[in-house]
C-alpha cells in the first residue's frame, strides 16, 4: 500500500497488448441484448457456459445452489480477472501503483465487511462469503483479520502489519466505542481511501508525473464529486442537515464555554457556533472533488428539496445527468435513479478511455471498469430473470457500452 512515485514510466506496450487481448473477451452490447431476450435464468447460464465465465460459474454452483452459486461464480471471475491484471502490470511500477489505488475499493469493501462482521459477531464462514479479494489485501491477510475476536483486535492487527487503513480505523474507533455505531468508523475509512489516493496522485503530479497519473487523479476527483453529491442528496432528502445542525447547536454552548475568549461576546459565540455547524456537515464530505468544494457541498446539503440541489449544480458537468434523472425521481421518490445515472456516466466516461492513447494507462483503467460493469450487467440480468422482473425494468438498470 505504500506508494512512492519516483518517475513516470512509459512502457505500456506489453501491458496494453495483453489487455487488448483480454478486451476481446468482453461481451458486446448485442450479446447482452440476446441475454435479455432469453426466457429464464437457465438459458442465461447456458449462454455463460460458452464463455470464459464457464469454469467460475460451475465452481460457484457447486458451492451454493441456484442464483447464489452463479453470483458466487461471477464474483470469483471478477477476482481472478483483477488478480490477472495485477500480475500483468506487475513489472511496471507506475501502472501497478495506479491499478492498486483503483482496486483499493475492494479492500475498502472487505475491511468494512470484516469490521461490520466483528461488530455483529458474525461467524468466520459467514464473513468469508462476503469478501471480494480483488484488491491489495489478499485472501490470507483477510482470513487472518477474520480470525480476530473483535473490532479492536482487527484494527490492531492492521496496525501491526503497518497497513495504512489502520490509521483511520484507529481514529474512528474512539467514537465507535462511545456510540456503538459503525458509521463514523466507516466514514473515516472511506475518506481515508479517497484522500490517500488523491494525495498519492498529487504527489506524483507535483514531481512532474506522466499523463497516466493525471488520468487516475482526474478519475478519483470525479468519483469524489459523485460520492459527495450523493451524500448531499441523501442529507437533503431526509432533511438530515437540520437535525445535524440542531445537534451541533445543542452541543455548542457546552463546547463554547471552553473557549473563554469567544464565549465572552455574543458575536464570538455565534461565530463559533456557525463554525461548528459547518463542521458538523462538512465531516460527511470527502476532500478533493473536481468541481465541488466542501463549502459548496455544505451549502447544498442545507437545501430543503432534492430538486433545489439539482438546480443548484446545473452549472457543473453533472447538472445535465442529474436533470435527466429528476423526472424519474418525481415519479418514484427514489434518489437511486439519479445515482444509477451518475454511475452510468462514470462507466461510460471511463470505458471511453479505450479510445485514449494506446501507449498509456487509459486502456487498463477502461478495461477494469468495463469488466466490472460487465459483471454488474450479468448480475442484473440474472437477478432480474430470477425474480421475474419485466425486461424493460432490467434494461433500464443495465449500462450498455
Amino acid at each position: 500500500m505504500r506508494i512512492a512515485i519516483e518517475k513516470p514510466q512509459v512502457d505500456y506496450g506489453y501491458i496494453n497488448a495483453r489487455i487488448r487481448a483480454m478486451k476481446s473477451g468482453l461481451f458486446s452490447r448485442a450479446f447482452f441484448e440476446n441475454l435479455l431476450a432469453m426466457s429464464d435464468v437457465e438459458e442465461v447460464v447456458a449462454a455463460l457456459g460458452k464463455s470464459e465465465y464457464r469454469e467460475d460459474v460451475e465452481k460457484g454452483t457447486v458451492k451454493y445452489p441456484g442464483i447464489l452459486g452463479i453470483e458466487e461464480g461471477l464474483k470469483d471471475h471478477l477476482t481472478t480477472t483483477f488478480n490477472k491484471v495485477l500480475k500483468i502490470v506487475g513489472g511496471n511500477e507506475e501502472a501497478s501503483k495506479m491499478i492498486n489505488l483503483l482496486l483499493g475499493r475492494w479492500d475498502l469493501h472487505n475491511l468494512r465487511t470484516i469490521i461490520r462482521g466483528k461488530h455483529a459477531e458474525a461467524s468466520e464462514d459467514e464473513l468469508k462469503r462476503q469478501l471480494i479479494p480483488a484488491g491489495q489485501l489478499d485472501e490470507v491477510t483477510l482470513s487472518e483479520l477474520i480470525k480476530q475476536p473483535s473490532v479492536k483486535a482487527s484494527i490492531d492487527l492492521l496496525a501491526n502489519w503497518r497497513i495504512p487503513y489502520a490509521k483511520p480505523l484507529k481514529d474512528g474507533y474512539r467514537r465507535y466505542l462511545e456510540t456503538k455505531n459503525l458509521a463514523d468508523l466507516e466514514l473515516s475509512l472511506d475518506k481515508f481511501y479517497y484522500e490517500f489516493a488523491m494525495a498519492e496522485t498529487e504527489r506524483g503530479l507535483f514531481r512532474g508525473a506522466s499523463l497516466n497519473i493525471r488520468l487516475v487523479h482526474e478519475f478519483f476527483s470525479r468519483e469524489i464529486d459523485f460520492v459527495n453529491i450523493m451524500t448531499a442528496m441523501r442529507l437533503v432528502k431526509e432533511h438530515l442537515a437540520d437535525k445535524l445542525l440542531q445537534n451541533v447547536v445543542e452541543e455548542g454552548p457546552r463546547k463554547i464555554s471552553a473557549v473563554k475568549r469567544f464565549s465572552q461576546s455574543p458575536r464570538g459565540k455565534e461565530a463559533l457556533a456557525e463554525g461548528m455547524r459547518e463542521q458538523g456537515l462538512a465531516r460527511y464530505f470527502i476532500k478533493g472533488g473536481c468541481e465541488l468544494g466542501i463549502e459548496r457541498l455544505v451549502e447544498l446539503a442545507k437545501l430543503s428539496e432534492v430538486e433545489d440541489l439539482v438546480e443548484a449544480i446545473r452549472d457543473t458537468s453533472y447538472g445535465q445527468t442529474l436533470g435527466e434523472g429528476l423526472k424519474r425521481f418525481f415519479e418514484t421518490g427514489s434518489i437511486s435513479v439519479m445515482e444509477r445515472l451518475m454511475e452510468e456516466r462514470i462507466v461510460k466516461k471511463t470505458v471511453a478511455l479505450f479510445k485514449g492513447d494506446p501507449l498509456s494507462l487509459s486502456l487498463l483503467v477502461a478495461y477494469v471498469w468495463a469488466k466490472f460493469n460487465e459483471v454488474v450487467n450479468l448480475r442484473i440480468i440474472l437477478q432480474g430473470k430470477a425474480v421475474g422482473m419485466p425486461d424493460d425494468r432490467i434494461k433500464e438498470a443495465l449500462v450498455l457500452v
Binding site: 465487511t113 462469503r129 462476503q130 448480475r379
Partner: protein
C-alpha cells in the same frame, strides 16, 4: 330423553323455571354476540386496510431488494446488513372487549435515519439504503397488523363460542326442557284421568252395592 324425569308438579315448576333461565341466558348471549360482531366488523375494516398496506409495503421492499441485489450484489447487501443489525422492541399490555382479553401493542417505530443505520453515508449506495428504509417500514406494518389481527382472531373465537352457546340453548337445552315439561304435563293429566276413572268405578260399585241392598230389603 336421557335424563330421568319424575312427573311431579314440583319437577314441572323446576323445569319451567329452568326454561325461563335458559331463555334469559340465550337473550343475553345473543346480545353479547351482536356487540362482539359490531366490534369485529369495525376492526375488520382496520385489518383489511392494514393488510392492503402490508401487501403494498412488501411488494415495494421486495422490488427494491431485487434491484439492489442485482446492481450492488448480494455480497454488498449482506455486508451492509451486518452493520445495521438491531432489535425490535414491543410493549404488550392487555385490555378487555366485552370480557374478551385482547392485546394492546405499543411499539417504537423501527424506522431509523440513514445516519443511525450503522453504515456510513459513503459506504453504501442509495439502493441499499432504500432497501433498509423499505424493510423498516414493512416491519412497522407487520407489528401493527399483528396486534390488530390478534385482536380480530380473539374476537372471532369468542363470537364463535358465543354463537355455539346460543345455538345450544336455542336448539338443544330449551327444546329438551320444553319436551320434559310436556311429558310431565301429559303424565300429570294421565294420572288425573286415571284418578277420575277410578273414582267413577268406585262410585259405580258403591251404587251397585246400594241397589243390591235395597233390592234385598
Amino acid at each position: 330423553m336421557a335424563e330421568e324425569v319424575h312427573p311431579t308438579r314440583t319437577e314441572l315448576l323446576a323445569r319451567k323455571n329452568q326454561i325461563a333461565l335458559a331463555e334469559q341466558g340465550r337473550d343475553l348471549l345473543s346480545q353479547k354476540r351482536d356487540a362482539l360482531l359490531i366490534e369485529f366488523m369495525s376492526i375488520m375494516d382496520e385489518v383489511l386496510e392494514s393488510s392492503r398496506r402490508l401487501e403494498e409495503a412488501s411488494k415495494e421492499s421486495a422490488f427494491s431488494l431485487a434491484v439492489a441485489k442485482a446492481v450492488d450484489g448480494s455480497v454488498t447487501l449482506k455486508s451492509a446488513s451486518l452493520a445495521t443489525r438491531g432489535e425490535v422492541s414491543v410493549d404488550i399490555s392487555g385490555s378487555y372487549i366485552m370480557g374478551v382479553p385482547v392485546p394492546n401493542v405499543q411499539k417504537k417505530s423501527v424506522k431509523r435515519s440513514t445516519l443511525a443505520r450503522g453504515y456510513s453515508l459513503t459506504g453504501v449506495s442509495s439502493r441499499v439504503n432504500e432497501v433498509a428504509e423499505k424493510f423498516e417500514h414493512e416491519i412497522d406494518t407487520v407489528i401493527e397488523i399483528a396486534a390488530v389481527e390478534t385482536k380480530l382472531r380473539r374476537l372471532g373465537d369468542e363470537i364463535q363460542k358465543t354463537r355455539r352457546r346460543v345455538n345450544a340453548l336455542d336448539y338443544v337445552v330449551v327444546p329438551a326442557l320444553k319436551e320434559q315439561v310436556k311429558y310431565i304435563q301429559m303424565a300429570l293429566e294421565e294420572r288425573a284421568r286415571e284418578d277420575l276413572f277410578r273414582l267413577k268405578k268406585v262410585k259405580q260399585s258403591i251404587e251397585a252395592k246400594k241397589k243390591a241392598i235395597q233390592a234385598g230389603n
